[in-house]
């Protein structure tokens, strides 16, 4: 797989030599910290209030009442930020004319796409790692269930990974970064709210629409449920995103 590392390293470098990575990290870190702070504050006061009443107190659960909403909030932030992270991946190469060099190099197109994808994935991992700073306190001072927390975290990562694959595809269609970002955001939002249409449909149509909904698969994981259906959903989302990017890049050969 020579060439894969070269591309991934160069992309990662570009994220960190430009302000992109720092801005994304800062914004995501601040928002994640704020969400966590508000939720934990609310959970604290709830605990104090319910301390008198053992029946209610037993129902308090930091996983359900802090982490599940936190992951939900962060997923919205990802929805807004991933398009900004992926918009340049191919659009910038086309604008610069560097795509001609990449595509006439001995590195196969598939590897170029994968390298770019992995670099964006690493930035996503960095963003999520930042949230570990604040959520770590919950583990020091409380006792959340670790498997449920990790499942939710994995859900967030998989969702981001799916978003990046779709963003990469839209970036491969155009040389305009704004267009790439707008299309990515629109498409992601559509996948997000597609289950609204499901409630109006019936039969097979309903189950198809429900299956397509990003949110539905994510909900399971924030609640700590690890189901192969959801894993398969995200894996196929990523695969299709990358495959369509490949087809879009190769399509210059059909024109």
């Amino acid at each position: 797989m020579s060439g894969l590392g070269t591309i991934a390293k160069k992309e990662l470098r570009t994220y960190f030599t430009s302000p992109i990575a720092y801005v994304v990290f800062t914004v995501f870190g601040v928002l994640a910290g704020f969400f966590f702070y508000s939720l934990i504050n609310w959970f604290n006061s709830l605990s104090l209030q319910l301390a008198q009443n053992p029946a209610y107190y037993a129902q308090l659960n930091i996983n359900q009442q802090v982490f599940a909403p936190l992951f939900n909030n962060l997923s919205v932030v990802l929805l807004l930020m991933i398009p900004l992270l992926t918009m340049r991946l191919f659009a910038e190469e086309k604008k610069n004319g560097t795509d001609e060099m990449l595509l006439t190099s001995p590195v196969p197109v598939g590897r170029i796409i994968l390298g770019k994808y992995l670099a964006a994935l690493a930035v996503l991992a960095g963003m999520l790692a930042l949230t570990a700073l604040s959520t770590g306190f919950a583990f020091i001072y409380g006792n959340p269930e670790v498997p449920a927390f990790l499942t939710g975290f994995l859900g967030l990562f998989l969702m981001g990974a799916a978003f990046i694959a779709l963003g990469l595809f839209f970036s491969s269609l155009t040389e305009n970064q704004i267009v790439a970002a707008a299309l990515t955001f629109g498409a992601l939002l559509l996948f997000w709210i597609i289950n609204w249409a499901a409630s109006a449909a019936s039969g097979v149509g309903r189950s198809v629409l429900e299956y397509l909904s990003i949110l539905r698969h994510f909900d399971n994981m924030t609640r700590g449920i690890l189901d192969t259906v959801d894993l398969v959903y995200y894996a196929s989302f990523v695969f299709l995103g990358l495959y369509f990017s490949y087809a879009a890049i190769q399509s210059r050969r059909w024109r």
């Binding site: 070269t6 591309i7 610069n96 004319g97 795509d99 001609e100 060099m101 001995p106 210059r252």
Partner: protein, 308 residues
């Protein structure tokens, strides 16, 4: 080293290249000459595997471009029309990235970059960001990019466009210095570029092959006569009449800066022409050999359009 036969490329209804065939021998510099929109860039993009041809075949280094594109890409260096540079990298970082991309082994990469920097004269700017260097240095960086992996075949799309005259001369001599070790195709719409740097030329217009061959072959084929421009101080009309009578002279015609005297190739009556001017007392000011060359052919092709 490079063989193209029956190459055709269409974009929808637009025919960019039609039925193009030519060959380039190893170690030679060949020019792809034609006016703008003649199909030069399309031809080069097909040779590099960036675009597929609609019809026909192309082979680089014995490998078919369509069947073995990966083999072709390994032995090919390519400078596209738009310089493929990353403004946020330094020149050295950029060349290192390209070397890795071209599969130069990690152990040899430093050496390969140093060599490319030396050949293209980039030592003074290698640590600077590409966004901050001048157009001339960017062009050299683009050239360095094309040769960093020491490719057998180098394809240069308009390597001197946008440079000042001094830079053009530098780049041309740089390209000439690569002759022998590398087979080079460069495209240009400037004839002087071909006559000064190339061993042979392929002239295309509107996607069609107009002429191809070594410079000598082409010059010989167009040279139906040779001639000189003669300028005299005295009566031009009388001088013209006297010159017509000189044995060996075919035709004499007044032109802007004197008289254009023509003769058949081989028979060189310049001595007799000079003597005639002196003996006739016309006052010879200047006699300049007129090289009838591929410039005439090129001009005819560019202005005439469809002549085969």
């Amino acid at each position: 080293m490079i063989a193209v036969s029956g190459l055709t490329k269409t974009y929808g209804d637009l025919i960019a290249v039609r039925n193009l065939s030519f060959r380039v021998e190893p170690g030679k510099i060949w020019g792809l000459l034609g006016p703008n929109a003649a199909g030069k860039t399309t031809t080069m993009r097909i040779l590099t595997g960036f675009l597929p041809a609609t019809e026909g075949r192309a082979a680089v280094g014995g490998f078919d471009v369509f069947e073995k594109p990966d083999e072709v890409k390994k032995i090919l260096g390519y400078l596209p029309e738009v310089l493929p540079l990353y403004p946020d990298m330094t020149v050295a970082e950029y060349l290192d990235f390209v070397a890795a991309l071209k599969q130069v082994p990690a152990a040899k990469r430093r050496e390969a970059v140093a060599r490319a920097v030396r050949i293209t004269g980039l030592e003074s700017v290698k640590g600077r960001l590409i966004r901050n260097i001048s157009r001339g240095y960017r062009q050299r960086t683009g050239l360095a990019q094309a040769l960093v992996h020491d490719p057998k075949v180098i394809i240069l799309d308009e390597p001197t466009v946008g440079l000042d005259p001094a830079q053009i001369i530098e780049i041309r001599s740089l390209i000439k210095s690569l002759r022998g070790e590398h087979t080079i195709i460069l495209s240009t719409h400037i004839l002087a570029e071909v006559t000064q740097t190339c061993d042979g030329v392929v002239i295309i217009n509107e996607g069609r092959l107009m002429a191809s061959g070594s410079l000598e072959e082409l010059t010989a084929s167009v040279r139906e006569s040779e001639g000189a421009i003669v300028r005299v101080r005295g009566d031009v009309r009388a001088a013209a009449d006297a010159l017509r009578a000189v044995p060996g002279v075919d035709a004499v015609a007044p032109v802007e800066d004197g008289l254009r005297v023509e003769w058949k190739p081989g028979g060189d009556p310049r001595d007799a022409v000079a003597r005639c001017c002196l003996d006739g007392g016309f006052g010879l000011l200047e006699m300049r050999t007129l090289s009838l060359n591929i410039e005439d052919l090129y001009l005819r092709i560019v202005s005439g359009g469809g002549e085969q």
